[in-house]
Amino acid sequence: MSTFSPPSPLLTVSAPPHAHCGRTTRGLMAETLFALAPAAIMAVLVFGLPALRVMALSCAVAVICETLCARAMAGTPAVDDLNALVIGLLFAFLLPASAPWWLVAAGSATSVVLGKMVFGGLGGSPLCAPLVGWAVCKLSWKGAMDYDLSMLSSSLTSPLAQLKHLGPQAVAGISLQDLLLGQQLGGLGAVQVAALLAGGAYLLIRGRLRPHIPLAFLAGTFLTALIYFYLDPAACAPPLFHLLAGGAVLGAFFLAPDCSSSPVGHVPMIVFGLLAGCLVVVIRVYGVYPDGVPFAILLAELLTPLVDRIRPRPLGVG
């Protein structure tokens, strides 16, 4: 079987997402973009035009890369399903607003190519595309990806980096309201917590997003942080801080429920969410990275195929 024979058209099982009830990928992506819009607007309000520049460049590069890849590999889905725009925007959301152009372009291209197209386009990738790009950039250009270092001119600080380097006393004075309204440094969209919550709620109400993963993710983060806080209040930040600082909300509503890389069963989805949420706090506490959200989701996604094996036993099977 060294030669590859194309699968017969009749028996082809297409890659997920399978669900089809008149909805299209394009529609889903359009609604996701709509849900992300408030956060994008807030990002421009808080960080000014540089944020807009980063988002625009990231989206443009993502679309161009996808077009080129799709041209190179005939037979892949069309580019106009807006997925590239979503990837580009989500990747931009993880960057500091001052990110230089080459960082945005390289990261966005990596997201689309390594995170999606090498696996045959939408639905094949075992990892969430924007996170792949983020991790590659984080590994390569630590300085430019560091929120505090790259945003020296801003009067805001990154609460998670402060927690990491200076301890919980340093963040005790930060009000939760400031965190909610994006008055913190971090990924330019990831910190617009209130706007992201609104967008997430919109997707949940419209039924475009099943609540298992987001809620389990937030619960996992909250409970793990609570345990740490309960064991040693002097050394750990309060659980609500962990929920509102950094990218936890973006992760819960937009990154973790990524269609091709998250589980599909009810129980698996809950396990997946809890696990990712728990890992967020573990990485924040022990790891070298201030915000553990992207890495936590990547790790949980590696477990997706295994978690998906938890399924109810079919009737009549011993």
């Binding site: 060294s2 590994l139 430019a144």
Partner: protein
């Protein structure tokens, strides 16, 4: 003469390891952070592979079939210890940089694979040509891969600075993930090239070489 030449050159392109003949992945990934590491590793492998092919081929009528694998291992291990000693005596910094991967040449399937698949069935001159060719191909691949990763990851090649100070090193390439991805993309490029050539010759496209131990004679021999 023609046959010898053929065996010598096949390792340089047609069956170049590890790009066409997927053998010896661990050192390929591990020591190609820089071009000179890749070159050093390659030279060590040429030495071991050529001499092991020579010894195996010379002794092939003497070695009983049942203990041949044990004999191959002893021969390869002897040569590897020899390389270790010579490297420590004449190239100690390289020995330090390659670290644990110098003794691990002994389990590089390229050595035992060629002994089993080629040297134990062919006369001495062909076996030496095969070992030399395969070793040169391996060296070439490792040096190229090392140069690629070094250029992107450090902005240098053989330690020479290529770009100005404005270059932002793509450090991903010198970390473990970069090693895997880089080799994966190079292999994909080789596959695409093969299929493009086949298409021009009017042949059907094939999937690239797998890693079902088909290319490594040893495992196949054990399965019998």
């Amino acid at each position: 003469m023609g046959a010898t030449w053929k065996e010598l050159t096949k390792g340089l392109w047609r069956e170049i390891p590890p790009f066409r003949l997927v053998l010896g992945l661990c050192p390929t990934l591990a020591v190609t952070k820089t071009a000179d590491n890749g070159l050093g590793m390659g030279l060590a492998v040429i030495f071991v592979l050529t001499l092991s092919n020579l010894a195996v081929s010379a002794l092939r009528r003497l070695i009983p079939a049942k203990v041949r694998i044990a004999c191959f291992i002893v021969i390869a291990a002897t040569l590897v210890v020899g390389v270790e000693l010579l490297m420590q005596a004449f190239a100690y910094p390289l020995y330090q940089r390659l670290g644990i991967f110098v003794p691990l040449i002994v389990v590089n399937c390229i050595i035992l694979g060629r002994a089993e698949a080629f040297a134990s069935r062919n006369p001495v001159h062909l076996s030496v040509a095969d070992g030399l060719g395969m070793g040169l191909g391996f060296t070439l691949s490792l040096t190229l891969l090392g140069a690629l990763r070094e250029v992107l990851g450090y902005g240098t090649v053989f330690g020479l600075c290529l770009f100005g100070p404005g270059f932002k090193p793509f450090s991903f390439m010198i970390e473990a993930p970069g090693a895997f991805v880089c080799l994966g993309l190079v292999l994909a490029g080789m596959n695409a090239l093969t299929n493009w050539q086949r298409k021009r010759q009017g042949l059907a496209a094939v999937e690239g070489p797998g890693h079902d131990c088909k290319s490594c004679g040893l495992c196949a021999a054990d399965k019998k």
